[in-house]
Amino acid sequence: MQLTNRSKQVSNKEMTLMERAYLPAIATGLGITIKHFFSKKVTIQYPEVKRYLGPVFRGRHILKRDADGRERCTACGLCAVACPAEAISMVAAEREKGEENLYREEKYAAVYEVNMLRCIFCGLCEEACPKQAVYLRHDEFVPVFTDRDQVIWGKDLLVEDMNNRYTREAWTKEEALALDIKRANGEPTNVTPRAVP
């Protein structure tokens, strides 16, 4: 039966005499493998050599601070809603007087926990965040755990360290695209990785 005019018969089961004799095909195969034997190896010596994971890789979470070191998160809960694994939980609190240098908005997350074993690193929280607070780092993974008690990461591990800020070349899709076009056209870019504007 033929339904379209695009079909193409591809399997030929008739063997020629040479193919019947086993040895030519085996010799061809041996030729291929010995060629690879002497070719360059592609192995990445992982713990010593690390591969660049691409600008948009979805690694471990980070809660960003702004340029003044204030936490950006306003505990709106969109990330928790967007999380298909239900790995994010948070407790919101009102900002007290005198805490303006700590939190950017009036509300902040007193508790912000990510269950790193539940998380599936889909990036929906990053997309959902309206305050540019939660990001998935492109340069680090979550380390392995040896104990079930270590897996829930609180703010102590998630919030960015001001001395060692997480930087990226581009923070939004639009920025990334613009940068990419510039690079493609051979224009000078001079982009240094930087913190979130």
Partner: protein
């Protein structure tokens, strides 16, 4: 041989023979047998090395996709489809998005459609790479597997460039793609088109015309077109029987009508045919990718549908309207009408269908996945009946049963 079943031998009624008993061995293939790449169990009744009958037990990784889908907003269902046929997750993701776009009547711009085609065809290549090279592994030729796996790694790099993950890509968004193809991605795809053919040719040289491989696969696990149709075969396994049914051609979606490609078909539906059909499909997919990347239209990569597609981040911070849309979309409060839809795409293993019933809520009322592996795997006992254990294993791996898709 702990448990042996004694069955009365079927002696002709008129023959005067002493009563014979036939010893059948029960062999438990799986669930942790190395050849059951996913997890399913085959209880085979064996007479020596011949298989007399078989019965499968599946459901070892049943994860209740359909139940979970009833509780998840539409945009989160991609995380489920990702894990369905994990060898070609972009096809599943984009298939689901296309279903929703058809349901919500969103027009996707041409550029996004082309990007989708590229991604889906790369996914098909990676799916077929695994199936064909694993067939080689099951016959004992391990090396070809690692050669083509290097190219699969490159496909994963392309995914990573496009969406940020390797396997469970969460690719595409309702209304388009999540980001445009970057220059690096285009470059990587072009490189891939150049560097893949020699490697695939190497695999072909190692296996295709090697008599050992041909002897192992020809006439093994054959099924006729009629039986295949009755068993609900689709995709490469159906095409191997000689019927050129392909959703991409019959019901083109995402601009597949723009591309020139052939539908490879086999002769007898045996393992060799399946292998060859998949092999040729990789070439055809490569052809499609090449056409798509060379004719990639300019324009936006997402539809102008603010109520479904997340607004750019900058706008969210500055414009109230965008912020409202942002909240509505993330909370899953999009205005979906009540209704039902069936949409099918050509998945790695055949017709991948999404049957969705909506009652206007934030999540599907009922979402059923037509999973090709689940449907055609029931033919397995019939296909391996009377063959030896080795044949049964090759038949299984050439069917490319993906456990995630099988059990859902």
């Amino acid at each position: 041989m702990a448990d042996i079943e004694l069955l009365p031998h079927q002696v002709p009624a008129n023959a005067e023979l002493p009563e014979l008993v036939e010893e059948l061995t029960t062999l438990n293939l799986g669930p942790t047998h190395p050849a059951t790449h996913g997890i399913f169990q085959n209880i085979l009744k064996m007479d020596g090395e011949k298989i007399v009958s078989g019965e499968q037990t599946i459901g070892y990784i049943h994860r209740a996709f359909e139940k979970i889908a009833e509780r998840r907003p539409y945009y989160q269902i991609t995380t489920l489809t990702d894990r369905m046929n994990y060898c070609s997750s972009p096809i599943n993701n984009l298939g689901w998005h296309m279903t929703m776009e058809k349901f919500l009547e969103v027009q996707v711009p041409k550029r996004a459609q082309y990007i989708r085609v590229i991604m889906m065809e790369l996914a098909r290549i990676s799916d077929h790479i695994i199936c064909n090279s694993i067939l080689g592994v099951d016959t004992g030729a391990f090396t070809g597997f690692l050669y083509v796996m290097q190219k699969r790694e490159e496909i994963y790099e392309i995914y990573e460039e496009v969406c940020g993950a390797r396997l469970t890509t969460n690719m595409g968004r309702l209304g388009g793609m999540e980001r445009d193809l970057s220059h690096t991605a285009v470059q990587k795809i072009k490189d891939f088109i150049k560097t893949f053919p020699p490697v695939l040719r190497e695999l072909e040289k190692l296996l295709n015309r090697n008599r050992i491989f041909m002897d192992r696969t020809i006439k093994v696990g054959a099924i006729s077109t009629e039986r295949a149709l009755s068993y609900g075969f689709t995709g490469p396994n159906l095409r191997a029987t000689g019927l050129d049914y392909d959703v991409r051609v019959m019901n083109p979606y995402s601009s597949y009508e723009d591309f020139e490609f052939d539908i490879p078909v086999g002769q007898h539906g045996d393992t060799y045919d399946r292998y060859m059909v998949r092999n040729e499909e990789m070439w055809q997919s490569l052809k499609i990718v090449e056409q798509a990347i060379n004719n990639l239209p300019e324009g936006p990569y997402y539809a102008d549908a603010p109520e479904y597609y997340l607004p750019p981040k900058d706008e969210v911070y500055n414009s109230m309207e965008a912020l409202i849309y942002h909240f509505k979309i993330v909370m899953g409060e999009i205005d979906a009408p009540a209704g039902e839809i069936y949409h099918a795409v050509e998945g790695g293993n055949g017709e991948l269908g999404f049957y969705m019933i909506s009652d206007g809520g934030r999540a599907p009322y009922r979402l059923h996945f037509r999973r090709p592996s689940f449907i055609y795997y029931q033919a397995y006992p019939e296909m391996c009946k009377g063959s030896s254990l080795s044949d049964a294993i090759l038949t299984m791996s050439s069917l490319n049963v993906i456990a995630g898709e099988l059990d859902a």
